[in-house]
Amino acid sequence: MNKVYADARSALAGLLKDGMTIMAGGFGLCGIPETLILAIRDSGVKNLTVVSNNCGTDGKGLGILLDTRQIKKMISSYVGENKTFMNQFLANELEIEFNPQGTLAERIRAGGAGIPAFFTKTGYGTKIAEGKDVREFDGEKYVMERGLVADLSIVHAYRGDTEGNLAYRKTARNFNPPMATAGKVTVAEVEHLVKPGDINPDHIITPGIYVKRMIHVPTAPKHIEQRTVRKRQKADAPAGTGEEV
């Protein structure tokens, strides 16, 4: 059983069809499977429903699939920083289903874990809860949310062995591990492809059972949305301080 494919096009061969649902990992432009996104663009598949926390930025990440109008609907928590998105949305060419970020993450986790629905306090009393079942538990009101699965999940990992075991780097982990569990087929792109045993089993975040196909992307570009830095002399600056450049 060989999981490693030569390139993104061959790894996606036979998996793409018009109208399908695709989950794409990443938070903003951090930890996004951009090589696979480019191959989806090149395939020409259309009318996609895409589940992703954001929709890239103009011309980057999932923004690539907006430029080519291959996306019909997004399920996301936040879609700022993207003019193309706004233009298509305001022209009724694109649907958006907003999910609170934690509800989105839990829907995906639940979907991958075979849980069809769950109750959360998040969004009770807001538009998000309209039309959804509400139950009271221990004196508090909770909203029922559905588990979410996709025809295909695409994820980005830092290291992967040829069995499909994956490890991530810093905050590039984000939505990738839960999405890897919730795709009928999951395709991973990995920056470092290694042989089984090269990743300490204690450090594997996504067990290979979830990963059907993978590609090696040693030179995948990475983007920074908000480059924020601090001056050298203030070595003891507190968190989140400095200046934007």
Partner: protein, 216 residues
């Protein structure tokens, strides 16, 4: 004289306690990290999957794999841990974060909060705000008292809600209100320097009580 953005952040930092796990929103709340007292151990959570968020990196050391929830480049601390988005919001929803400090468009006297959309205008989405206000133990709003002359402290929110009955404290440029979201309403507990009770009354749509301990 009304408080500046930095002074509002400084006041909000007084709500922190040693050992707290804290989530800061973007804008004025981010400035709160400048006023964490020396010697107080506070861990900042970034809901994209990081606990123990460090300061911005030195120029040239930015790492595209290391960002906060505002998508700004940050750094790691010795206390840092990473986790996925589902675990991050389990932490939030499960009530493990001690305090969230965030901005708002409107707060109502019953604790309702609106900060995610203005109908008919550009809609960006709520991100993690609905989960945060629903799950964190204490929710502190830091905002300007009024926008274009209109009180942002309302009898009822006019914008779509982020959370119903979720706010515990409101810090504006004019003063500080505690909020009993179980029916007790708003209570003015502090005034900014040289701001009078009459100033606040004139600029506040919401009804509020005045604490016995209020210094005038």
């Amino acid at each position: 004289m009304a408080w500046s953005r930095d002074q509002m952040a400084e006041r909000a930092a007084k709500e922190l306690r040693d050992g707290f796990y804290v989530n800061l929103g973007i804008g004025i709340p981010t400035l709160v990290s400048n006023y964490i007292p020396n010697g107080m151990s506070v861990q900042l959570q970034s809901e994209n999957g990081m606990l123990g968020t460090g300061p911005f990196p030195f120029e040239g050391e930015e790492d595209p794999d290391l960002i906060n929830a505002g998508k700004q480049t940050v750094t790691e601390l010795p206390t840092t841990s990473y986790f996925n988005s589902a675990d991050s919001f389990a932490m939030i929803r499960g009530g493990h974060i001690d305090i969230a400090i965030l901005g708002a468009m409107e707060v109502a006297e019953n604790g309702d909060l609106a900060n995610w959309m203005i109908p008919g205008k550009v809609v960006k989405g709520m991100g993690g705000a609905m989960d945060l206000v629903g799950g964190v133990k204490k929710v502190v709003v830091v905002m300007e008292h009024a926008a274009k002359g209109d009180s942002k402290l309302k009898k009822h929110c006019t914008l779509p809600l982020t959370g119903a009955g979720v706010v515990d404290m409101v810090i504006t440029d004019l003063g500080v209100f505690s909020l009993d979201r179980h029916g007790g309403g708003l209570t003015l507990i502090e005034l900014a320097p040289d701001v009078t009770l009459d100033d606040i009354k004139a600029k506040t749509e919401a009804s509020f009580k005045v604490a016995n301990t209020l210094k005038q």
